[in-house]
Symmetry: C2
Subunit: 347 residues, 2 copies
Amino acid sequence: MNARTVTLREVADRAGVHPGTVSRTLNEATRHLVNAETAERVLAAVSELGYRPNVIARSLRTNRSLTIGVVVPDLTNPLFPPMVRGMDDRLAASGYTTLIANTDNDLQREAAVLETMRLRQVDGVIAATARREAFLVDQLGADLATVLINRRSEAERLSAVVADDRDGTRQAVLHLAAFGHERIAYIAGPQTLSTGADRYEAFVDTIESCGLDVDPAHVFFGEAFTEAEGVRGMQALLASGVPFTAVATANDLMALGCYSVLAEGGLHCPRDVSVVGYNDMPFADKFNPPLTTVHIPHYELGEHAASTLLRLIEHPETEPQTRLLPVTLVARGSSGPAPQRLKRRHA
Amino acid sequence: MNARTVTLREVADRAGVHPGTVSRTLNEATRHLVNAETAERVLAAVSELGYRPNVIARSLRTNRSLTIGVVVPDLTNPLFPPMVRGMDDRLAASGYTTLIANTDNDLQREAAVLETMRLRQVDGVIAATARREAFLVDQLGADLATVLINRRSEAERLSAVVADDRDGTRQAVLHLAAFGHERIAYIAGPQTLSTGADRYEAFVDTIESCGLDVDPAHVFFGEAFTEAEGVRGMQALLASGVPFTAVATANDLMALGCYSVLAEGGLHCPRDVSVVGYNDMPFADKFNPPLTTVHIPHYELGEHAASTLLRLIEHPETEPQTRLLPVTLVARGSSGPAPQRLKRRHA
DNA sequence: TTGAAAGCGCTAACAA
DNA sequence: TTGTTAGCGCTTTCAA
């Protein structure tokens, strides 16, 4: 702290009142209890002395830190900054401050991070980690207001705000089907993440609802939502020898991985193979070709998660609810009509 | 807070010692003052009761919040997440928690954000805002440990960690010169930001040191580091009618803006015009063409800023110092040999 | 090596 | 409407 710390007591002395009165003047909820004239005198003293309330002392007394913990796998993943901003903007508007922590999808770090947040007495937590095992769920929820984002609660015991992954995948597949594609491959995300599992299931459902078949050779299960896994996926798909004219991916980075394998193999996207991503990450429109993908309202997800959490803090007895936000397919250059004749797709 | 809050006093009771002893046991610095056996008993009680120290109470007492404020213009700008992670990783390792706030380059928000941080008794601030006017400088520094990142301190009164913008721009221009370009245009960033001004000055210096001239018609001053300004810049450059074979930009987004104008005008990059960006933003290698640009060690900038701040907090009397981190040109597909013959570059 | 006591700055129940 | 009082949970001087 700096030397120039003015306390409530000093303000009280200056205004010739009791510290309690100053406190009452400064607090919205109790301001009405104090005489207008007195309040004026207090406020004058406050500005003369440049008084700023000590939030820490207040928190100690009130047991509310006005702080919310936000847990993300990695802020560096372009998905999360918009979400976080959505939360922060909403929370800041209500006087809350946001504590952001990265877990790198590591359970140990996740535990450590949550511990830190508890120690800091956060009033609530928004968790953007997508792991399906109910690790957070067990720890939190019961004694800390918690909202999940981008991940449903398996047991439905926690409130969640998620994008409609099933519908998004459905739109992606229908988009390809409308282009006449009948052999559509899929590069799935990790099935340990709810996003990975949901999207894969929706893929299967939609393919079948189109009267098409899911050839096991047409599905690759990535171990992470990364470009490298996209590369592995497309390589495996091509190596299988089973022809396809389009591939849907569980994530834009994977789609990017497909791009490079296709290019290396002398295959043109979308002329030879259409590619559809997922997420509409920033600059997806700048890629070569511009990526057709499913847009997720990241910022709004964040906002809704924040609102939901705020409500939960106000009314702890609220029933958990899952909020599903709509997504939209963004058609760009990476998808087009199915080739007339199926050629072999070997690299 | 939840019902299950165990206090120091309860631990003391359980261990049959005085609260002071528990405190001493739990604090690194004073642990040696307590008998090994006693300490063991205390630690046992701690884990039996699941005690967690109340950080807020500690802060109130010690006047240290173990919290650092980080001020960025906009977390959504891909520059900042890696910086923030660099800081956070370093700070977390020392037990500090990071409070991130966005200003949107708005002075009012900046003031509000800093006020919030003061109220929260942050132990220090890292400011990543690049505005040149010494707004923060006036407010901070004197009474709060402050480190600037990505921006030098005009008066050199604050410590700063910056990338070597002059050298980066130099490298970019020399790269183009080595390709035989003699008419090199420049799309500059806002001159109100130190990054914008430094890079522009380095551009002029380097061009001249190459024995070339800076034609005023070859320079466009963007009002923001955005794609839209890149578009405006390239349009202006082409409209001027003064031929050029390459353009350096103060920022990757601006380079992206150039791409679209060139494409619209039927000009090929790099065959007709080479383009060089700045920052090496994520996925710059995925653009069409892959962008030649100057790589900045964002993560390391963050780490260094954090280390510098930590040192400053430990030793407040340290002289302010500016740390310059090296940058490197990354040659990719958007730059190539100058066309043999200068053609008119009208759109 | 440990206990006692005071107090960080604030809020809130109670009294006046 | 205001003052009084107590105390949030912790650290830290001082004394033993």
